[in-house]
């Protein structure tokens, strides 16, 4: 479904990705783990077109997207929940969700999805007209995921959804991720610090170091890998 082929991405003069190749099949949950600064977020931003790669190719459902603008990429069905949630603080919860569906014109479909996410996270229905910035961290994360779902994505990119959340909430978020994947057959690309949790929900995993992929394997096998255990699982 998504093929990232040897992309190299730069921030100004600093090379963040030094040839990254990743493949994601339809319906899969894959995870990308690695230390802070390894290039995980950059990978997602390259896919979304915010920081386009300087070389290499990204193909989504047979279409080359590495030269497309972010809005065109969203239109094709790739949605991202960025690191730190990035709720529009001055927009109400409803407006935040509306922005998620910015490119869609099918009113009925939007309504349907709205009902779906409000059902998924009932707390958001309660806070409908509250400004996004006043929500608690967990609520913001739920809103961020809902907002991305409002674009009706085929591929959902999640960047550190557990960051800074209470252990209790982290568990719920991961449950929801699994649920979305199973109920809607949405493909999920998960970037995580919390390798423990990530490898539990993912089918396959990639390990990234210094802008390069160093390991690819089945999630279970990765979790059992001695090096991974030592470096990322803290065991």
């Amino acid at each position: 479904m998504l093929k990232i082929d040897n992309i190299k991405t730069f921030y100004g003069n600093i090379q963040a990705l030094k040839g990254v190749t990743i493949e994601v099949s339809e319906g899969e949950v894959i995870t990308l783990i690695g230390a802070n600064g390894a290039g995980k977020t950059t990978t997602l931003m390259s896919i979304s077109g915010v920081v386009p790669p300087r070389s290499g190719e990204i193909t989504f459902q047979g279409e080359k997207i590495h030269k497309k603008s972010p809005d065109e990429i969203v239109k094709l069905g790739i949605s991202q929940v960025p690191e730190g949630r990035r709720i529009f603080p001055g927009l109400s919860v409803m407006e935040n969700l509306e922005m998620g569906a910015f490119l869609r014109t099918d009113k009925a479909g939007i309504k349907e999805d709205l009902d779906y996410v409000l059902d998924l996270f009932p707390i958001l229905a309660e806070r409908k007209s509250q400004a996004g910035g006043t929500l608690s961290g967990g609520e913001q994360q739920m809103l961020a995921i809902s907002r991305a779902l409002m674009a009706k994505p085929k591929l959902l990119l999640l960047d550190e959804p557990s960051l800074g959340l209470a252990p209790l909430i982290v568990k719920r978020i991961f449950d929801i991720i699994t649920k979305i994947n199973q109920e809607h057959n949405t493909t999920i690309f998960l970037v995580e610090q919390n390798a423990n949790m990530a490898l539990q929900v993912a089918h396959r995993g990639y390990v990234m170091e210094n802008g390069m992929i160093t390991l690819v394997d089945d999630a279970k096998k990765l979790a059992a890998n001695e090096e991974v255990k030592k470096a990322y699982l803290g065991i």
């Binding site: 077109g49 809005d71 239109k75 990035r86 529009f88 927009l91 910015f102």
Partner: protein
């Protein structure tokens, strides 16, 4: 009392004039946090374009509302085009740059445009025809409040309402606010941020052109420098009201207009601008976000 009332009306007109320009400032600032110094120049270019069109039409034998309407339309088109072009040349390449850079670029653009018009046209003041017809129902009051003053006040009020609606309730407006709050996230939500910013510039420039035509027609003359002074004042007004806020821009403009009017009337016009700037300094010291602006709590 009558004197007070007259000064009040004078301040209202003057404030409305500032407001038409301040609205554009505040919109642009709201979205990219840039003091668009060249905004005043757009206002001036709008007025010049209208003058040229109006003169050609008058020479061709047209008159009345048709001249006003046509020259207004052309001025709006051109002001929008200039706004768009300026944004593309002077600001867009600087999106990632430190905040000082676009500000300096804006000052440069303002100087450039002034001198462009100076060289392409003239340094002299040019008489601007009175395009706003005298409404018959205003006849008995013309000496207190003229048709063109009424027109300015009404257009300002309507512009404010339309803009507020646009920003609060339309999808476009929400996208503008979203882009202002978090540009990267707006991109990730599928909003074409560049297009939104361009649109904002065009809307702001359009308003400046409307202002340019009405004000020039009210005052009766223009030259290449009118944009700078009006621009500084309008910006002061926008900051006063709380930059980024549409009603704030109008309120700030009216406050500034009245301050200047009453200061002139009851104290002295010698220090008119001193009063205006002192007011600005005081407001910023005691209420840094302006009258209607929200104080941003800095995240730590």
């Amino acid at each position: 009392m009558e004197y007070f009332f007259e000064l009040f009306l004078g301040g209202l007109t003057r404030g409305s004039i500032y407001a038409l320009i301040a609205l554009g400032y505040t919109m642009v600032y709201g979205i990219i946090e840039l003091i668009n110094f060249a905004h005043g120049e757009i206002y001036m270019i709008g007025a010049f374009t209208a003058l040229i069109v109006a003169s050609l039409l008058t020479m061709a034998g047209m008159d009345g509302m048709a001249v006003l309407a046509l020259s207004m339309v052309v001025a709006i088109i051109y002001a929008g085009a200039y706004g768009l072009t300026i944004e593309k040349i002077a600001y867009k390449p600087l999106r990632q740059a430190p905040r000082l850079s676009p500000l300096i670029s804006a000052i440069g653009m303002s100087i450039f445009l002034q001198n462009y018009v100076l060289l392409a046209q003239t340094s002299d003041f040019l008489p601007f025809p009175s395009l706003v017809p005298e409404f018959s129902f205003m006849e008995p009051y013309e000496h207190i409040f003229s048709s063109s003053e009424l027109m300015i006040v009404v257009v300002t009020a309507v512009s404010m309402l339309v803009l507020t609606y646009l920003i609060k309730f339309t999808k476009m407006g929400k996208a503008m606010r979203a882009s202002a709050q978090d540009r990267t996230m707006a991109m990730l939500a599928g909003i074409n941020v560049n297009r939104i910013i361009s649109t904002t510039f065009i809307i702001g420039s359009t308003l400046a052109a409307v202002g340019g035509v009405l004000i020039a027609s009210h005052i009766g003359q223009i030259n290449f420098y009118i944009g700078f002074i009006a621009g500084i004042k309008a910006f002061t007004a926008a900051v006063l009201g709380g930059i980024g806020s549409i009603p704030g821009a109008v309120l700030g403009s009216l406050v500034l207009g009245w301050t200047e009017s009453f200061a002139t009337g009851y104290v002295s016009s010698d220090y008119e601008d001193v009063f205006a700037f002192t007011l600005l300094v005081l407001i910023l010291i005691f209420r840094p976000a302006g009258i209607l602006g929200k104080t941003k709590t800095q995240k730590v």
